[in-house]
Assembly symmetry: C2
Amino acid sequence: ELAAVNMGLTIKEAIDRVRGLTRNVETIHNIFVVDNENRLVGILPLDKFILAGPDEMVANIMDKAEICATTNIDQEEVANIFKKYNLVTLPVVDEARRLMGRITIDDVVDVIEEEASEDIMRMAGMDAEELIYESKALKASKLRVPWLLTNLLGGLATGYLLWLFKVTLKDVLALVTFIPVITGMGGNVGIQSSSLMVRGLATGHVDLLNLKKILLKEFKVGVILGTICGSGAGITALLWHKNPMIGIVVGVSMITAMTVAASMGTLIPAFFKLIKVDPAIASGPFVTTANDITGILIYLGTATLFLKFFYNFHA
Amino acid sequence: ELAAVNMGLTIKEAIDRVRGLTRNVETIHNIFVVDNENRLVGILPLDKFILAGPDEMVANIMDKAEICATTNIDQEEVANIFKKYNLVTLPVVDEARRLMGRITIDDVVDVIEEEASEDIMRMAGMDAEELIYESKALKASKLRVPWLLTNLLGGLATGYLLWLFKVTLKDVLALVTFIPVITGMGGNVGIQSSSLMVRGLATGHVDLLNLKKILLKEFKVGVILGTICGSGAGITALLWHKNPMIGIVVGVSMITAMTVAASMGTLIPAFFKLIKVDPAIASGPFVTTANDITGILIYLGTATLFLKFFYNFHA
């Protein structure tokens, strides 16, 4: 039973009314105030209720019920209302504003935690269900397989692209040794940018209106981190294979691949948000595959150009 | 100012006392009850306060103050107490149990959301700071660079391992085309297992006491998913390069690599939890690098063995 009183009562009458409620009412945080048609008109916080004189009218003491939820509201929206207004309870009304129930903050705490779990699991191509119900191996595999098959196709496409460069690879086999580090570092910096976007969009810290600014920042981050990691990898390549061409190719393509990856890691979640697909669920395989493909193209494209130039030069 | 009353008062006296509080007291959810030395003895929920008769003693109506926090408590622990007992406020006491203040649920909501953001960002090698303060590119790069350099070293080590197999690669260059998909799929399944562990440990859905059971489940998941993806990749390899050896090597090593990756993705976060290092911060680079290295070793190791067998067979 809800703790609701009619707006026409005095405080003393309201106290008697609340006393008269059956004992199976849950903890009371606020008294809801309704009119004769059970439509919500106000909210009476318990501290105001206690501090008011017994003959004052409920209607004069109550706060206006400005914030309330309708029965068809989304749970993420409810959580945002609680956070925005620091609420403990939120009344729920139907289309005619008739009081139907209440949501309390402890329900919201669970929702906030669930939504975060959902994001984390979806970013890895899983379902939050797996966390809550201890699922069997077969069930878990079924939930994870679509995402993995998408990535498998991406991986096979990357392999096909590699094969287009087989002449270059046959000429300088040492180039093979840097394929994992180039695609890997692009993947890492791309995951950083996309995690920032996915979580930022979920918590409201990132807004599509600021996209240009964020993209510019992530682009710069890509250049800075690419230059640091690319120099390290390039110098290693140079010293290891005693071949300045490999050193330059590795360095230049890591800088380029990491910059492209940071930009795509920012744009892909923004694009999915725009077309109203959950960025967390969509970004994972797309960011990974896109970065693998562009990484390979940049690395072996650069190597092929350099080789051509190098051979022509000596011819 | 805190809404606290002495345990020796009657309800009527307590109401007068609460009325007398200066108006800059925040929303009252509970009245705290203290003894003459200001030590916390009880809590009086406002609804009990209203429903009690004016002459009843506070000490007879109040709930015993069994749950309270000390001043040096960790914020994650506070959040867990609120969730466990569905609290709205929690009194804070010093070592002598003197009432020092209170924590309300709206602070806790922020903490829960922050902790989730921290996990997501740390798993990608970032700091939650980046989300909250709109950081400049240079600042963001500085925060991200340690994790990326760790992964760079891992990537270079992977490249070095690749080079150890250069004879095999020179013999069958087509093997190169499946390097990205083998390490990539190992990485994907490893991230799934480690995300499940990291989030499960944070929310309490996963417990180290169940580790054996979870490990067995993830191992099975690795076998199932590895068999599905490995068959797909193996058949593609066979049809593409018209070489049954490559097909078998790709299939067998993808099954093995994905099973190993699922197991390591489970064990690495558990290990960090055990040695009291945040699994979210530590698992990222370790899981990625470990899976790249074992993926390469399994793939090219298998290929080398098959090549040897194949050549000996025909010799």
